[in-house]
Symmetry: C2
Subunit: 159 residues, 2 copies
Amino acid sequence: MPKALGRDSACSIARSLEVLGDSWTLLIVREAIVAGATRFHEFRDALGVAPNILAKRLASLVDDGLMVRRTYQEPGERAREEYVLTDAGRSLSLVVAALGEWGRTHRPRPDGTSPRFLVETSDDPVRLAFVDSRGGQVPPERLVARRVPDRERATEAIS
Amino acid sequence: MPKALGRDSACSIARSLEVLGDSWTLLIVREAIVAGATRFHEFRDALGVAPNILAKRLASLVDDGLMVRRTYQEPGERAREEYVLTDAGRSLSLVVAALGEWGRTHRPRPDGTSPRFLVETSDDPVRLAFVDSRGGQVPPERLVARRVPDRERATEAIS
DNA sequence: CTGCTAGGTTGCACGAAGCAACTCAGACTC
DNA sequence: GAGTCTGAGTTGCTTCGTGCAACCTAGCAG
C-alpha cells in the first residue's frame, strides 16, 4: 500500500487501490464472487493464505464495507462466522472480470482456469467491453483516456 | 505479493495479480494510459513515489513485457530514457476503467477525479459493461460466475 | 473427558517500502 | 574550463507488513 497517495486521494483509482491494493484482498473477493466462498476455512484452503493474514484482510474488507460478518448456526452445529459480500463487494465483478480477461489473454497457460461470467438464465457467456452512450461496443484502440472531475458527470446529465 | 499462489498459478486472476499486485504498478500504468506519461520524472512527480521504488517497478514492468524502455534524444538535448506501454500494457485499460468506475461509485469524493475513456473521433464517453454473445448489455445482477478451464473456450468455438 | 473442527491469536524472522542523501553524465552558462 | 542544472537513477538505513509455525478457545461427538 503506497503511503503517498494513500487514504483519500482525489483519484478514484487510487481510492480503489487503497482498498484493493493488497493482492490477497482481490483474491479473497474473487473467491467469494466466483466460488461463492463465505467461510474462513474455505478462503484459507482455496488460497493457501496464512490465517493471520486472512483474518486481517477479512477484517479490512468488513471495515471497508465490502463484506459483512455474520454469525449463523446450522441445526446440530455450533454458531459459526461467515463473510458475505455487500453490494459494493459484489460490484467488483467488473474488476475481477477485467483481471481475468487480461490474464487469460496476456499470461496464457495451457492448464489455466479463469472465472467466466454467464447469464444466469441461459448460461450464455459474457465478455467485458467498452460501450458508448448508444450501447454500441467500441474497441479499446479507438479510445483516448482523460482525467475528468467526477462532478462533470452530474453536470453533463443536467445540461 | 502473495507467495503461495505466486508465480504461475493456474488461475488467470492470480497470474494477473502476480504482475499487478503491487499497487504502485497499477498507478504507474494508469498514469501511462491516462496522462500519457513516459518519463521517469513524470511518474515520480505525478505519483510522489520514491525514486528507488519507481526504478524497481519500471524495471519489473519492462521485464514483464508491459512496457519497453527506449533511449531517445531530442535535438540539443542529451539522450534520455522513456518507458512506453506495449500492447499488453495498453490493454490494461479495461482493468483501469473498471477500477475507476468502482472507485467513483463506491468511494465517491466531491473533489474526486477519474479517468474517463472517450471515443477518439467523437469525444463520446464510454462505460464498461458486460455484453453477451449477441452484443447485448447484461447487468451484473443477472450473472453467475464460474471457474472454467481456459481451453474450453477453444472447444466452444469449434463445437 | 478426550478428541475434533472452525475460527481465529501470538511470536518471531525476513524482505520490501519509504525516506533522504548521494551519484553520474551531458548540455548550457559565463 | 569551472560551475551548475536537470534527468535518471543508486545506496544506506529504518520501519512496517508478510509468511510461517505454533498455540488457543468454544462447542459437539463419542
